[in-house]
Symmetry: C2
Subunit: 399 residues, 2 copies
């Protein structure tokens, strides 16, 4: 663990230095800074950012830019973004990919390369990822690899992408045998979280985003978890102030973790709380059946059960998380894949080593030995018997 300290949770705008990074003339915006040396960049959070040229004034200029989006988001926002960035480029192209996790694959990635090479895009070309996590992950990976690296900007339009996937430089595509298995650590130049885009988000995707917001409480900030519980109705009602606070605080926590461990050598893995079980559910059902956030929501319940069986958290915490995940509109019981399939899928998880599955457990050791309980998290393997107990208790086979 690092000695860096997370600033305490507070309401209202972000404080001090980071606030100074807000786009010129954008008084209502907040900014969170990702501190990674010469790969540092700001995350702008606020309304009416996407269609404002000032938002992008610091982006690199070039002969061409390419906006990568999907067929759902394109009709809503592609023209606004194109207008906003057009002063920077001679040509701006738009590529709308098919929508959904099922398309986060090599074949769809190639559509981006085909577009770039078809328009003779050079190595200064800037890619803009306009959409959710799938668009962001694929565009970022394409930017990492096109001519061995071109600049890119994240413009996430889903809650999940704003609070998690667009921040921190993880990019990837899926492989039939595992999620996000082929990818790169590659940082954007800028992340623009326009809160207005959340008004057009389907309710199911709003809930999926809440899963990643809830995640930040148990792993790093129980005061934030308290706030989420209190403000869940406001978040579900898309109250602008509540969403602004949730997105900003989530990005602050993610920035704090990523700033310590860009390439997931250690602490960064705690951001995968709920993801070991969740990825297994997603892959086991086939990508796109459950949303990523739904897998994470259910996975957090399962990982909390495992933490309890390890003696690291108490029953009350498990009930609390289960209640909150359910109230957010997310599943709390896993599908009936069978324990062997779950185990096989989890052995293929990126955190595994030599077939040993690593879980993100809440706490830092047994409560009986002075463990910290919720508010910290630890990546650790677990006895297979306990994992089987959790699968038996938390999946539909148990019902």
């Amino acid at each position: 663990m690092s000695t860096a300290t997370l600033t305490p949770f507070k309401l209202g705008p972000a404080s001090g230095a980071s606030a100074a990074l807000a786009a010129p003339g954008a008084a209502t915006h907040q900014a969170v800074h990702i501190d990674l040396g010469d790969r540092s960049y700001p995350i702008l959070v606020g309304p009416a950012l996407l269609d404002n040229p000032a938002t992008f004034a610091q982006c690199p200029q070039a002969a061409q830019a390419l906006i990568v989006t999907n067929t759902t988001v394109s009709p809503m926002y592609a023209q606004c973004l194109l207008q906003a960035i057009s002063p920077l480029y001679k040509q701006v192209h738009v590529l709308a990919l098919p929508d959904g996790e099922a398309y986060k694959d090599g074949a769809t990635l190639n559509l981006i390369y085909d577009q770039l090479l078809g328009s003779t895009a050079d190595r200064k070309t800037v890619l803009y990822a306009l959409g959710g996590g799938v668009v962001g992950d694929m565009t970022g990976f394409a930017a990492a690899c096109y001519m061995r690296g071109v600049p890119f900007v994240q413009v996430p339009t889903t809650l999940l992408a704003q609070v998690d996937s667009s921040v921190g430089g993880k990019t990837a595509i899926n492989h039939p045998l595992g999620k996000n298995m082929i990818g790169a650590f590659y940082q954007p130049q800028l992340v623009v979280c326009d809160l207005d885009t959340l008004n057009t988000l389907p309710v199911r995707e709003l809930s999926a985003g809440l899963a990643e917001i809830i995640k930040y409480g148990p792993i790093a900030d129980m005061a934030f978890l308290d706030w989420i519980e209190t403000n869940l109705p406001a978040l579900l009602a898309r109250d602008p102030q509540a969403l602004a606070t949730a997105v900003r605080r989530s990005c602050e926590i993610k920035a704090w973790v990523v700033g310590q461990d860009e390439k997931e050598g250690g602490i960064r893995a705690i951001l995968n709380y709920g993801h070991t079980f969740g990825h297994a559910i997603e892959a086991g059902l086939g990508y796109g059946e459950w949303l990523h956030g739904e897998g994470v929501g259910c996975g957090m319940v399962m990982a909390s059960h495992l933490s309890q069986r390890m003696g690291w958290v108490d029953e009350a915490f498990v009930q609390r998380i289960t209640r909150l995940v359910k109230a957010a509109g997310l599943p709390t019981v896993g599908p009936d894949l069978g324990a062997e399939r779950y185990l096989a899928l989890m052995r293929g998880d990126k955190k595994s080593e030599g077939g040993d599955i690593k879980f993100v457990l809440i706490g830092n050791g047994p409560l009986s030995a002075g463990g910290s309980g919720p508010g910290t998290a630890t990546t650790q393997s677990a006895p297979e018997a306990l994992v089987r107990e959790v699968l038996a208790a938390c999946t539909q086979s148990a019902a």
Copy 2:
């Protein structure tokens, strides 16, 4: 340009600090050091390295390793390498890809991912690239992307890969619209140039490797060019001492350039002398028709002609390069693709910006204005009329 100084060319083993990096108990080896901070690594050059466990003693240990090779090299060397590295891993798999530049594509790259995921390879898994430039580029790119990065080791078995492509961290696959368009800068842990493997190299590939060796003279070291001219018969006869000197000096020059500019923001582009024309030939004929080194050989002749028409070198230099390329067994006249096709392909070159083709010219300006002439190189655009003159003079349409 950097202020770093290239050590002067000399015969015999590498000097000083780098020699201390040779594998334990390997008195006849030389070592060249690539200095890139925490991504630094040694290049070992010598006979009998590939089957010696001591060569790999410092490589990272893990549960698994994967040797990626091709169907031509595998029967000759895969078992030797497997034996040498087996003390470090519980399991070592071998994957033999189809042989040839035509297979340096996304579909073949996927075979590596399928193998890794099929054997539940974790993120500590070490990849070994055993073969020529195609195997090295694809294995390196797979290592860069598998689970967002696993360690890899280059074991080049062709002269071209030993003196150029295995060193410096450029990895890539081809796209139908351009060579090496999809890739990453990703450094290996170690490069092992076993000179014994050159004994089994087809003569055409030996010549292709000589193209990249010749390249280093005009861009950086005219004393080395003198030596190559004198020792060309010995190199063609595969004299072990001559090959050892050529490989070691080529790696020294490459290390000097890459150490100044890992990601080709500037000076590194001079390593592409002959490559703008050469890549156009390769892509225009279809990958695999000409070997990469053949394209580079002919491309150096063409780039020298262009340098002369710019007034940067004299006629005698153009004749000297043409004579040496020819004597090395390489083509000096380009295929008849038509000038428009050449120009279109070169506009797609990675060095191009906004449609402006960049060439690596020999010298640093017109001789009449005090230009340095051969021994330095500069990346620069050229008047299209001069490029067309070169194409008219140096391709079969002119014959």
